[in-house]
């Protein structure tokens, strides 16, 4: 039981280090509070953004926390892939360059899993294979349209959906 846990942990840790470096250009790793008896302690995330000292994770900025959390999710996914991932505005705190880096990583991870991401952000929409538009009609009901041609938001404005 403990052996299986350590196998999973080591692999996810290695994934986390690679992915965190790619997303943030910093250094990160996972640690067990009790390496000798993992189930007696928790799992801690160590994250060091570029040019900075290792920081308490709670002190990280909103964008840095988002990238750290997503690195953990992707690390987990590479170890135990699921058929789909559905993300609701996980890029909301990211600046332009981090949003772009995340979008490219979702794109590359989507080779092994289906990704559905609710997003108003241009980098996410530009990197996607497909786009769905949602709107509320005057009758008060939500409707969905598939979008053939993606109109990129000028600044976070909804793309103009063209019915499929």
């Amino acid at each position: 039981k403990r052996q299986e846990f350590m196998l999973a942990f080591d692999q996810i840790n290695q994934n986390f280090q690679d992915i965190f470096a790619e997303l943030s250009h910093g250094h990160g790793k996972l640690e067990l509070e009790h390496p000798e008896d993992p189930f007696a302690g928790g799992l801690v995330i160590r994250a060091q953004p570029r040019d900075k000292k290792m920081q308490r994770i709670e002190a990280l900025s909103g964008g840095e926390k988002s990238l750290t959390a997503l690195s953990f999710v992707f690390a987990f996914q590479r170890f135990a892939p699921a058929p789909f991932y559905a993300f609701d505005e996980v890029d909301m705190m990211l600046d332009g360059s981090n949003a772009e880096r995340l979008a490219r990583m979702v794109k590359s991870q989507s080779a092994t899993a289906q990704f559905v991401a609710v997003s108003l952000r241009r980098p996410m929409i530009e990197n996607a294979d497909h786009a769905i538009g949602v709107s509320l009609r005057a009758d008060g009901y939500s409707r969905v349209v598939g979008i053939r041609e993606i109109h990129i938001p000028d600044e976070e404005q909804k793309p103009e959906p063209q019915p499929v």
Binding site: S66, A80, Y85, V118, I132, G133, S142
Partner: protein
């Protein structure tokens, strides 16, 4: 394996029967505030039994019925397609009567318990703790959760 389509019937703001077809790869969902994007995410949580009623922003299950249409039930069906083109179908319906309501799950057309749904989905690494669905505002929760909670996520795998 991937989601082939999500069928929403009277669920939250989707008072009109709606089919959301999904292709493989990377899809974005966009639209104005309040249009229904997060409600689509909620429909996945609802049908697959992945979260509490509160996490879908409802106090009780009947809140999930569209409040304009006057209908007394809501249903969501998620159809998966695996690599051999076989379908896996999970469906859930809330039906409201005078002072009570029922919640029914179906797995491939037969009624099922939530436990049976969870066991089937677990074979594909789909579970409430597997990060398959990250809700709006929740992403940093992975960083702020306790170390023990985070370790238990890996326990589930091993």
């Amino acid at each position: 394996m991937r989601i082939k389509e999500i069928e929403l019937d009277n669920f939250k703001s989707f008072g009109k029967h709606t089919l959301v077809p999904l292709l493989d790869g990377f899809t974005t969902i966009s639209g104005p505030n309040g249009s229904g994007k997060s409600n689509i995410i909620d429909s996945l949580l609802f049908a697959l039994g992945l979260s509490s009623t509160r996490s879908m922003r409802a106090e009780r299950l009947p809140d999930l019925l569209n409040n304009l249409s006057g209908k007394n039930e809501a249903r969501v069906t998620v159809r998966f397609l695996n690599n051999d083109n076989e379908t896996l179908e999970v469906s859930r319906r809330i039906r409201v009567k005078e002072n009570s309501y029922t919640s029914t799950y179906w797995l491939n057309g037969k009624t099922a318990t939530l436990t049976e749904i969870h066991e089937e989905l677990m074979k594909y690494n789909v579970s409430p703790t597997g990060f398959n669905v990250i809700m709006q505002g929740d992403v940093t929760g992975i960083v702020t959760m306790s170390a023990t909670e985070r370790r238990k996520i890996i326990d589930e795998l091993a």
